[in-house]
Subunit: 328 residues, 2 copies
Amino acid sequence: MRVTIAEVAQRAQVSKATVSRVLNGKPDVDAATAARVRQVIADVGYVPSARAVGLARGRARTVGMLVPSLTWPWTGEVVQGAVDELEAEGYGLLLYTVNRGTESLSQFASHVSAKAFDGLLVIEPPDTLSYIETLHDQGLPVVMIDDRGSRPGFPSVSTTNREGAQAAAQHLVAAGRRGFAVVTGPANFGCVRERLDGFLDALGDAGVHVDPRLVVEGDFGTDRGAVATEKLMATGLRFDAVFAHNDLSALGVMRALTAAGRKVPDDVAVVGFDDIPIAAHAELTTVRQPMREMGEAAARLLLSRLEGAAPSREPVVLPTALVVRRSG
Amino acid sequence: MRVTIAEVAQRAQVSKATVSRVLNGKPDVDAATAARVRQVIADVGYVPSARAVGLARGRARTVGMLVPSLTWPWTGEVVQGAVDELEAEGYGLLLYTVNRGTESLSQFASHVSAKAFDGLLVIEPPDTLSYIETLHDQGLPVVMIDDRGSRPGFPSVSTTNREGAQAAAQHLVAAGRRGFAVVTGPANFGCVRERLDGFLDALGDAGVHVDPRLVVEGDFGTDRGAVATEKLMATGLRFDAVFAHNDLSALGVMRALTAAGRKVPDDVAVVGFDDIPIAAHAELTTVRQPMREMGEAAARLLLSRLEGAAPSREPVVLPTALVVRRSG
DNA sequence: CTGAAAGCGCTTACAG
DNA sequence: CTGAAAGCGCTTACAG
C-alpha cells in the first residue's frame, strides 16, 4: 500500500494540515513539530501524490511541449534545453507531436481541455499559429520557439536571422568573393525574408550588387537545394559564393556543384544556416542557431509566467554565431 | 470558469454518476438519457479534468519515458515512434533525461514516487539497469528499448545485432574483400559481443580468418574510431575492409583512412551500424537498426501491460537491414 | 436504469 | 501554532 499524508499525520501525531504545512514550507509551524514530521516523512519515504496535489492546487507543475516532429535535425536540441531547465525546477514535460497530422492535433487539443498541463512550449507546427494564438488568448500561458520569424502576439524566443546573414555576407566579402547567389527557404517564412534582407544589405554596404536571377527559392530540403543550384548554373551568370538559407539545402548546393565539376570552396564558397550535426561532418561554414539555448530560454520564460510574471510581448532574441569551416 | 461534471449533470437533469457512466461508455444507461447527456457535453464543450480522473481512478493514462540524452543521433526516432503509438491510444508522454546526471535521476525518482505516470519506457542510461530493475520489481510496468544487448529481466525490445553483423560480413565477402578489421564498441556492451560474434562467425563460415590484432576497441565515438584505425594501420597488416560497430566510429574510420591516403571504398571498404542521418550523407554502407519501430514496439508492449496483459520475459527482437551505399 | 454518498490524496480558509 | 472540515473534480460500490 502506498503511504499517504494521512499515514504520515498519524505516525507524527499531528493533523494532515500540519503535515501539508511542513511539506510546503509554510511558516507558523513549531520547530519541534516540524522536525518530527520531517523525520516521519524520511522514515517512511513519503512523497506526495502528484495527482492529488495537482487537483487540490489546480496546477500540475507540468508543462506541455508541442513540436512538429522529433526527427528533424535540431528538435532534439531544443527539447533537451527545455527539459533541463524544467527539470531543475521540478516540472515535468509532456511531449506532443503533430507527426500524425490532424489526429495528433485533436488529441493535443483534448489534453489542453483536460488541463493536463499548466503552460505550453511550442515550436510552431505548420499552419498552427492561429490555433496557438487562440489558446494563449484563452489564458493558457504559451511561449513559442520561433524558428520562422513568425513574430506571434505572445511571448517567444527567436534568433538574429538578419545579423546572422549579415555576418555570412561580410565573411564572404572579406574572403574575396564577388559573385553572390542565394538559395532561400520558402518565401512566406519571416526568417527567410530576414536572412535575405540581412545578406543583401550587408553586401550593399560593401558595394556589391546581387543579380536577382541569382536568388532562387528552395524549400529547406536538400533535393531542392540541388535543383536550385542547377538553376543558378543554368543562368550562365558567374558566381563564386552561395548562401543557402539552411544547412540541409546547403548540402544540396554542395552536391550539385560537385556533380557539375565545380570545386567547393575553390570555385564556389557555400555557407548555410543552422549548424546541424551534419554541417560539421560536411565541413560546411554556417550560421549557428543556438537551439539548445533557445529551448532553455523558452522554458525559463514560461516558468516565470507560471510563477506570476507578466507576459512580455517582445520576443527574446538570441544571437547567432558564424561558424567558419572548409566550405567557405 | 471551467465546466465540470456537476454543471453537465445539472444541465442534463441527471446525477454526476450518470454523466460519468455516459462518459465512460458503461452499459445500463437509458438510450434517451445518454443522448441528452451527450448533447449537453457537446454543447458546453466539456472535457473531464485529467487530474481528477487520474486521482479517482488511480491511473493517469500517462507514461514516462527516460532517455540518456535527446541530442544523440537516433533518440529522436525512438521517442517519435513511442509518442505516435501512445498518442493514438490517448496516452500522454512525460519525458525525462539524465542529461544532468545524478540530479536528473533523483528528480526522476521523485516523479516515480509521486506516481506521475502509469508505466515507464526506458532507453537504458549508463549504469542504471539495476535501478530500473528495482522499479520493475516494485510493480512499475517497465519496457526497455535495449540498444546495448543488456537483456534485462523484464520486457524489452532489441534488434538482431548478430544477424546484422553477419549480413555485413557476407556482403563484404561477396564483394571480394579478404582482409578484415573491426573497430568494436565498448567491450562490456552485450551488443558489441553480439556484433563481433556474428561478424567473425559469418567470416568463419566463409573460410576467412581474422587476425586478432586487427580487432581494436573503440568507444562508439568518431575520434576513437579514427585513433583505432591508425592503430590498425600501424600493425602493418593488410586489410581491405573495416567493420565499425556503429556509424559514428565508422565516420572516424573513413576520416583516418582518407587522411592516410587510402581510398574508400577502392582500397578499403567501410561498413557501420545504426544508419543515423549522417550515414546517408557520408554514403556509408551500414546495418540499419529500426529505431522508430523499436519505439513503437516498446510503446505497444507497455500499453498492453497497462491494459492487463502479463509481462513477457522474452525480448521482442526487430530485424536489422543492411543498407548498401558507396563506402562498402 | 439512476441517484446519494463515500472516497481518491491532497490544500486551504476558518476557528481556536 | 494547530486541527476539523470543506473542497478540488471525478469514479464507484451500494441502494433502490
